[in-house]
């Protein structure tokens, strides 16, 4: 027979009566950095678990794309000889690095909630942790790719200028904010309808052709003329152009002239605008996520 409740000591808890596991969304994620670190470590070791090549898949994927685009677009379709297209491989590779960061964040982020259902069904924690962790893992994979890019640039006779680092950071900022925003919304949608996971693959295919990576921006200006601003409404296009500004422009014979002819007017304004829009989208994504996240545990089957 249990001892009566009156005979036992009672622990006095110095805490307010509050809803369990209150969640402030991305702020909670930021507050619990140690848990985030563990999840990122897990993702890094888990993303390619049970595969022989392991983390090399992160490089094989963009590398093979690079070779295919270089051979077919550059050499066979003749993009390398296009007007104002010096050093096509660097142009292509710089674009691929930042685009791959985006598509990896988008794809892995979308699968992140389903992939961690074992935890989500049993433990209370900010669910935003998982899309954010996916973005950080992709950012981690970006580091060696960027180093390779820098080495390639140096061997191609690179002259970095004052704007290399700001352009690089602004491009990262755009993709981090936009990638996280899309990962939040699509991971949520993917819990309710698995179709979204498949749709992301199609979208990422379009993204590769929708940015100035395989072809120069001048081609878009030639095709759209005055209306080429429409093309720049895509934040990923702006991020890719900033990457070209940071890396590719410096390996051409006359960087100033290249920047003047190949980059859109007001590149920095477009970049800052894209970053601002991405931050607004992140706030909207958080609001959508908060509205529907309480239905996630019961739909994780």
């Amino acid at each position: 027979m249990a001892t009566g409740v009156d005979e036992r000591p009672v622990r006095i808890v110095d805490a307010p009566l509050a809803p369990p596991a209150e969640n402030l969304g991305l702020f909670s994620v930021f507050k619990r950095r140690y848990l985030l670190k563990l999840l990122v470590q897990r993702e890094i070791s888990g993303r390619y678990s049970n595969s022989i090549l392991g983390v090399f898949w992160s490089y094989i994927n963009p590398l093979t794309q690079f070779l295919v685009y270089w051979i077919f677009m550059g050499e066979i379709m003749g993009m390398s000889d296009a007007k104002g297209m010096e050093n096509y491989p660097v142009h292509l590779f710089a674009g691929l690095v930042i685009v791959h960061f985006f598509t990896e964040t988008f794809g892995a982020g979308t699968r992140s909630l389903m992939g961690n259902k074992g935890l989500l069904k049993k433990m209370a924690m900010p669910k935003e942790m998982f899309p954010v962790a996916s973005m950080l893992v992709s950012l981690y994979h970006l580091v060696p790719a960027t180093l390779i890019l820098v080495v390639v640039c140096v061997f191609s006779g690179w002259t970095p200028s004052w704007d290399t680092i700001p352009a690089f950071l602004l491009a990262l900022g755009i993709v981090m904010a936009l990638g996280t925003a899309l990962a939040l919304v699509f991971s949520l949608a993917n819990v309710f309808f698995r179709d979204f996971g498949s749709a992301v693959n199609i979208l990422t295919n379009y993204i590769r052709f929708g940015v100035p990576m395989m072809y120069p921006f001048t081609m878009i200006e030639g095709a759209l003329g005055d209306k080429s601003w429409i093309y720049l409404l895509n934040p990923i296009s702006d991020a890719v152009l900033l990457f070209q500004q940071a890396f590719w422009v410096g390996v051409t014979k006359n960087p100033e002239q290249t920047a003047a002819t190949n980059m859109p007017d007001h590149l920095w304004m477009w970049g800052l605008g894209a970053f601002g829009v991405s931050l607004v989208l992140l706030v909207i994504a958080q609001l959508i996520f908060s509205k529907h996240e309480n239905k996630i545990p019961e739909r994780l089957t």
């Binding site: 001892t3 307010p16 009566l17 848990l35 961690n116 049993k122 433990m123």
Partner: protein, 265 residues
């Protein structure tokens, strides 16, 4: 006068049952005039308050809403209507297993699990040896938990949960999978938690162990709270203790075995 530890006020939780998921299925169902989906109330306007230091047994048949209620108290789910409020740190097991990552080793999962409860790396290192000793998993600790048996899995989960310095301890069917010596150890550990003045919510079908652990019983039936009060009366209400219990012979035997086990350990 002790303070409230858990307040559940007018809580309702609906689940959507989906029969058809794809466009093809939905179209066919619509044409035949069948329902595409329907909702059912897992919990229906449940209200109760648990004081600090109370040990409450949550009972009811399978599907009566016990686990859903624990998920709402632990914060894994949120109610559709009503309010759930708790005071202090919550730890425990929901539906026999902890939230583990199958690809991670037992060791890594201990750190991840503790971090989800809000422990830092140093705090986890402090309890680590106790957790490992209690779980008695030996060399398995370094292999992925995906390879664990269900018994090993819940051993590890229970071991982490009891070593968290929680103010509220939730235990759901913890005795369902472990072997007898481990069940005994679990019961003793839970009594220790109860006797230290922490709030305990214990879900079990074993009348004997509820009698031993709890000083109050709450019964659920199809999502509704049907009984809240004395332990013996609660068990009688559910006919668990009686020999002429309703249900199949097998179920009666199982109940009897459970009761015996609860009384014995």
């Amino acid at each position: 006068m002790t303070a409230d530890s858990i307040v559940v006020d007018g809580v309702t939780k609906n689940f959507t049952l989906r029969y058809h998921r794809s466009i093809k299925d939905i179209t066919v169902a619509k044409m035949k005039g069948r329902a595409v989906s329907n909702t059912f109330k897992a919990l229906d306007d449940v209200t109760f308050t648990i004081k600090q230091g109370e040990s409450v047994g949550l009972m009811g048949l399978n599907g009566s809403g016990k686990s859903t209620l624990l998920k709402l108290i632990s914060g894994v789910m949120r109610p559709d209507q009503g309010v759930v409020k708790t005071r202090g740190q919550i730890a425990g097991l929901i539906a026999t297993g902890a939230g583990f990552h199958p690809q991670l080793s037992g060791r890594e999962n201990i750190f991840l699990n503790a971090a989800i409860y809000g422990l830092s790396a140093e705090e986890t290192a402090e309890i680590y040896d106790d957790v490992v000793n209690f779980a008695e998993l030996g060399d398995h600790l370094n292999s992925p938990v995906g390879n664990y048996s269900s018994g090993q899995y819940s051993r590890l989960g229970f071991s982490v949960a009891v070593h968290i310095d929680s103010d509220i301890f939730l235990a759901d069917e913890v005795l369902a999978v472990g072997d007898k010596p481990f069940k005994k150890k679990c019961m003793e550990k839970m009594e220790e938690i109860r006797d230290s003045g922490r709030t305990v919510v214990y879900v079990s079908h074993a009348a004997g162990s509820v009698k031993r652990m709890c000083d109050r019983v709450i019964c659920l039936e199809k999502g509704r709270l049907v009984f809240d009060g004395d332990v013996d009366e609660g068990i009688e209400y559910l006919h668990y203790g009686e020999d002429d219990a309703k249900g199949s012979v097998a179920q009666r035997k199982l109940d009897a075995a459970d009761s015996a086990l609860g009384a014995e350990v």
